[in-house]
Symmetry: C2
Subunit: 238 residues, 2 copies
């Protein structure tokens, strides 16, 4: 009987892991497709990203509910308790990543009929490629409980921030050159900011992996490079 | 002995409530002060908002830890379980509200030496006043478990979104009029977006109150009015 309980508990945990993995797959696809939609200005693809977000929200809600019931019913200790808490945290971050990808997709619809500088969009794509790679790596690290790989992801977030800073300045300069650039550049600014935030949530997941495996969260500040909050650009100075 | 356990459990819940209330007070103050700092372009006040965020993060971490231990140790059912889950959710939203206020404060520092149109800043202040009032109301509703008051807050989020939409267009027009406006208007755009997101997290708290008291989340879509994701403005058309 005790054996039966153990098995069923493991099944619960295994099911949680599977749901997180499903969420991860959807979130990754949304990030990739939102950026593809932006680069090709493909409103139909953007709409499908917007729709996919509903499924992500539903799974997250389900994971949260099942995790809490698991804690209440099974009173897990140590690693098993951390496993459940981590499932709640990671699903929360993946849900937010989906929201951010959805927001990029909405802006694709906004600028679909605008003349857009392709070079500047490629800057956003470059950031997004990096964010996608990080997200993929952190999901692999979560699946394999690999603290070392998670720490690598954690350390690399600064690269996305650095790209964002330079893109922020570039977009401002572009806006100053011609007022016709302002509308779509503003949307691109928000797209870039969303990708930068996707990187932050990926870093959160990396921290959760460390907590899951070791019971501790990373010491010291994150390697943040986001100076754009403080950045200004002067017309004609570029 | 049973009596002792009950009392001590109630004490745990009461302590959780007190911590949420402390977080609420700090978050409210941060939102108010970040906007004050923006309106007066007061970098010193902005710095104190940035510092206050550390305390908020620490309490949230503590609430999360205590809530999970409470669930694991006491196996609460029904209302008591919802009480603990709600504490985790509300503290998460308050932590995010603090982050958003901190981001506004950082941008105050960025534009502190820039010539800024005071009229356009007042638009952000107007939005922020509304967001502050909503936050205050939702915290009161949480303290008194008042579903009706929470629902009122939930319904009013559309007003903040509507203000944000009109401010978004106004800021774009302002940027098109003079490239010297672009740098600080971009920061104001992000400030306004942050305030709009503060409204979203306030709405999340309103939903949590309904879940806490009734066990159900509000049916139907939120009264969202945020069309700015889809908005563009053409130079000379204003």
């Amino acid at each position: 009987m005790a054996d039966h309980i153990v098995t069923s508990y493991d099944t619960d945990l295994e099911n949680l892991r599977r749901s997180i993995s499903e969420m991860g797959g959807i979130a990754e696809k949304m990030v990739t497709e939102a950026t593809d939609a932006l680069v090709r200005r493909d409103s139909a693809l953007a709409q499908s990203v917007i729709l996919a977000d509903k499924r992500l929200d539903a799974i997250q809600h389900d994971i949260e509910e099942r995790s809490v019931l698991l804690i209440a019913r099974r009173q897990p200790l140590a690693i098993d308790l951390r496993e459940t808490i981590s499932a709640i945290r990671v699903s929360g971050d993946l849900e937010r990543i989906g929201d951010l990808a959805k927001n990029v997709a909405k802006r694709v619809v906004a600028i679909s009929d605008q003349p857009v500088g392709q070079k500047i969009i490629l800057g956003v794509q470059h950031m997004s490629d990096l964010a996608e790679a990080q997200l993929k790596d952190v999901l692999d690290a979560y699946a394999s409980r690999d603290v070392k790989a998670a720490h690598d992801v954690w350390e690399r977030d600064g690269e996305i921030d650095a790209l964002y800073n330079s893109l922020f300045r570039e977009l401002l300069t572009y806006m100053m050159e011609d007022p016709r650039n302002i509308s779509f550049c503003t949307h691109l600014l928000f797209c870039a900011k969303n990708v930068e935030r996707i990187g932050d949530h990926t870093t959160n997941i990396a921290e959760t992996i460390q907590y899951l495996v070791t019971g501790e969260t990373p010491a010291g500040d994150r390697p943040k490079n986001d100076a754009s909050n403080y950045a200004t650009v002067t017309p004609g100075a570029a």
